[in-house]
């Protein structure tokens, strides 16, 4: 990635961290035209998914996380976040499955273990 690409992703992330989700998403959408290379980066789709997840746009964020996974199946953050989206939708079976995938990639991932324990508190 170029220095410019890293800088713009940092700016998007900062807006997201500051909970300015719509501003973050607007910058992200406009950046795709300037940096078409973003469409090949799992981190980019994961970040897009996180913003859409925060906006509770579950349909879009699921597509985003799946895009991230299709670029890099070992990018466990996207599996974890996809699990969060399914959790919000009440699809706990799929959420459980994604957290297991995280553990396949990173067997000591405590966030995934904790998520599995929490999912098991529901019917």
């Amino acid at each position: 990635m170029s220095k410019q690409e890293i800088e713009i992703l940092d700016r998007i992330k900062k807006l997201y961290d500051n909970r300015l989700y719509k501003d973050s998403l607007a910058l992200l959408h406009s950046s795709i035209y300037t940096f078409p290379n973003f469409k090949k980066i799992a981190y980019f789709y994961n970040l897009k998914g996180l913003i859409n997840l925060a906006l509770k746009d579950w349909k879009t964020c699921i597509e985003d996380f799946k895009n991230a996974i299709s670029i890099d199946n070992n990018f466990y953050h996207a599996h974890f976040n996809l699990g969060l989206a399914y959790y919000d939708l009440g699809d706990l079976e799929k959420s459980y499955e994604q957290n297991l995938k995280v553990l396949e990639i990173d067997k000591n991932n405590s966030r995934a273990k904790i998520a599995l324990i929490e999912i098991l508190t529901f019917q």
Binding site: R19, D88, D91, S110, I114, I117, E118, L120, F122, Q123
Partner: protein, 253 residues
């Protein structure tokens, strides 16, 4: 590897589910009952799971309705206004004398069908070291009915060392608005929602939801019976009991 991981968590949880079936709700829950449940549960759980940095410290039992508290708290924290929804949210708060009784209350919250349709939780309020149970209700009538039933149930199954009160909404709202929490016979004397607060709600929704319209999660109902999560939370409470010299759970330690 997938199958092994799946087996670990699901198997442990399945082993724990029926542990509270030794409880006879027609009698008092004894300290010995709790010790038995805890010890048996511990025998199924490996040290690395016990040592997980499990963040949760409140035992919940939930129904399928999402109260959307995350949205309401966000609005309150940013604009210092109480969302309209929260003017119709009431709760029964039960103060237990010690951690042993709090564990017993969590068993009651799990086992009584009459609570099935409401959200409830047990927790330690670390700031004032009180052991509390909360039952969330959607009307004053429901709140008062449940309070009456819980008073009877707790006396029957635990004992008389507890306090019970009914309040409106979340405690933090009552710091800037002390009248908000008060429930009165004549509802018109209770604090009313100032209509101008809707502007803040709309601004927040515009910023935080895709189309500016609040969306709720699809919640699932809590499972019945004891869970791995319950064990890890009780384990935290027991560790905390040492810090505050609460000897009620000394037989577990």
């Amino acid at each position: 590897m997938t199958i092994i991981n799946q087996d670990i968590f699901k198997d442990i949880n399945n082993n724990l589910q029926d542990l509270t079936s030794i409880i006879d709700l027609s009698k008092k829950i004894t300290d010995q009952d709790v010790v038995k449940i805890y010890s048996k549960a511990k025998s199924f759980i490996s040290k690395d799971i016990i040592d997980l940095n499990y963040k949760k410290d409140q035992i919940y039992r939930r129904n399928t309705i999402d109260l959307n508290c995350e949205r309401h708290k966000k609005i309150f924290n940013r604009f210092n206004v109480i969302p309209k929804f929260c003017f119709g949210c009431f709760k029964v708060v039960i103060y237990m004398e010690n951690i042993m009784d709090l564990i017993k209350l969590s068993i009651i919250f799990d086992k009584y069908d009459l609570l099935d349709h409401v959200d409830r939780k047990c927790m330690i309020n670390y700031s004032d070291k009180t052991n509390r149970g909360y039952i969330y209700c959607s009307s004053i009538k429901q709140c008062q009915e449940i309070a009456k039933k819980m008073d009877f149930i707790i006396k029957k199954n635990i004992g008389t060392n507890f306090n019970l009160e009914t309040k409106r909404g979340c405690s933090e709202y009552s710091i800037p608005f002390p009248n908000y929490k008060e429930i009165k016979e004549d509802e018109s004397l209770m604090m009313q929602y100032p209509k101008e607060w809707k502007i803040a709600e709309d601004v927040s929704d515009q910023q935080n939801f895709k189309d500016g319209v609040p969306i709720k999660r699809n919640k699932r109902k809590s499972t019945n019976g004891f869970t791995l999560s319950d064990f890890l939370i009780i384990n935290k409470w027991i560790m905390y009991s040492k810090e505050i010299d609460d000897f009620s759970v000394k037989d577990i330690i």
